[in-house]
């Protein structure tokens, strides 16, 4: 088994864990963490695909995409945190209370 295969399988598992977390976690912060884990899975799959040809250099295009992707994911996570804290400030809710 090659290194890139291990990590591409890991990336699929991480993505599914993230999706499950987005659906099933209740607290806002956990939902945000779940989205970041989903993003991590996607980035891991991209980088592991870049490493699959055993050349001197790995494919630089996915690396560049992942670098911009990480920074964008952080900006969106910061926005989500701001929303969550604002909702908490105004209503005192820590999660979406649909099932009440």
């Amino acid at each position: 088994m090659e290194t890139y295969q291990i990590y591409s399988l890991t990336s699929a598992v991480l993505f599914v864990i993230g999706i499950g977390g987005v659906f099933m976690a209740r607290h806002f912060i956990k939902k945000i963490i779940a989205t970041i884990i989903m993003g991590g899975g996607v980035f891991l799959s991209l980088v592991s695909f870049a490493a699959r040809d055993a050349l001197a250099f790995a494919d630089p295009v996915p690396h560049a995409l992942v670098i911009t992707g990480i920074v964008v994911a952080v900006a969106s996570a910061a926005f989500a945190l701001a929303l969550a804290r604002r909702i908490y400030q105004l209503t005192g809710e820590e999660s979406f209370t649909i099932d009440k």
Partner: protein, 328 residues
């Protein structure tokens, strides 16, 4: 033999991701999530993506950590209160929620299982070959830099990078909109502890120098604008935490200039290229190296300013919202 490292690292990453979502307490899940970031940073190195590893290390250990610790403080106040009152943990996953129906959860579990199988199959079957490695290598002499990742970021796909700086700025504006009040206040309290002040004063120039080093070294090896930006943003966060909020001290026009310099200079350059008969962001090879260095520096300054502003805004969020006017 070295595959063993990968297997352990992969198991560690999956375990940390799972536990950070399943942990009953909020502080557990946040700190396990930091550990997940560090495990991921080691995974990037194993895959040969040193640039990504530097970015991930700086983001996971620094910026996101600070944001989540700050947010955790707000939420954990109620966490302890609820613990005392009801002993029921609010942050549990819905699996422990007794009155939620079982059918949707079963369907969700089945769906996730199926999805897991499909995605495992998909990543296993991905065909080898293709990719843009040779093309990126072949065009390297014309790009003005010697490191392929930097060449992709700032020359071949400069359009993406430009819009990406825009996305960060948009995120900042959205946070302004959510916050909805005067955002940069004078410090409430300065640092009392002499050692803490010395630590901040020592690490500020160290972070600045190392960021500048990464920016410069990005031309030939792993490093570049984003890594430098996160480190420089950490300077702003440190100073803010130490009671010297840079953004409250500097005048408003300078603040706006810092935030938009990267985006603006990129755009100006694009228009100049079009006026000179090239396509948008098609650097003339003779000046490419020099122009890329300027663009990188300005982009790093802008992103660092945006990250500092994001942290400053989120940090001042819990103060009671009574004023309604906003300034940027």
């Amino acid at each position: 033999m070295s595959v063993l490292i990968d297997i352990i690292l992969a198991i560690l990453a999956i375990y940390l991701a799972l536990q950070s979502l399943l942990a009953p307490r909020l502080s557990q899940s946040v700190f396990l999530f930091f550990a997940f970031g560090l495990a991921l940073a080691l995974a990037w190195i194993r895959l040969g993506a040193v640039d990504v590893a530097i970015t991930e290390a700086a983001i996971a250990a620094g910026f996101l950590g600070a944001l989540f610790l700050d947010a955790l403080r707000d939420f954990s106040v109620s966490d302890t209160e609820k613990q005392e009152n009801t002993k029921a943990d609010q942050s549990l996953v819905s699996a422990k929620n007794t009155n939620s129906p079982w059918l949707p959860r079963l369907a969700l579990g089945l769906g996730l299982g199926l999805f897991l199988l499909i995605s495992l199959e998909a990543v296993w079957e991905i065909p080898s070959g293709g990719g843009l490695t040779e093309l990126a290598e072949a065009m390297l002499p014309a790009s003005g830099v010697e490191h392929p990742v930097t060449a992709v970021l700032l020359n071949y796909r400069a359009y993406d990078t430009w819009l990406e700086i825009g996305v960060i700025l948009m995120g900042l504006l959205a946070i302004f909109a959510v916050g909805g009040r005067e955002l940069y206040r004078k410090p409430v309290m300065a640092v009392q502890d002499p050692l803490l002040r010395q630590v901040i004063l020592f690490f500020t120039p160290v972070l600045f120098l190392f960021g500048a080093f990464l920016l410069y070294v990005g031309k030939t090896g792993p490093g570049g604008a984003f890594q430098a930006a996160v480190l420089w943003g950490a300077i702003g966060i440190l100073l803010h935490l130490g009671g010297w909020p840079v953004f409250a001290v500097i005048p408003r026009w300078l603040r706006q200039l810092l935030l938009t310099a990267g985006l603006g200079f990129f755009l100006l350059l694009g228009f100049l290229f079009i006026a000179g008969g090239n396509a948008l962001f098609e650097y003339p090879p003779a000046y490419a190296g020099f122009l890329i260095l300027i663009v990188e520096t300005l982009a790093a300054i802008s992103i660092a300013a945006a990250l500092t502003a994001i942290f400053a805004n989120l940090n001042q969020m819990k103060e009671t919202p009574n004023e309604t006017e906003t300034t940027t």
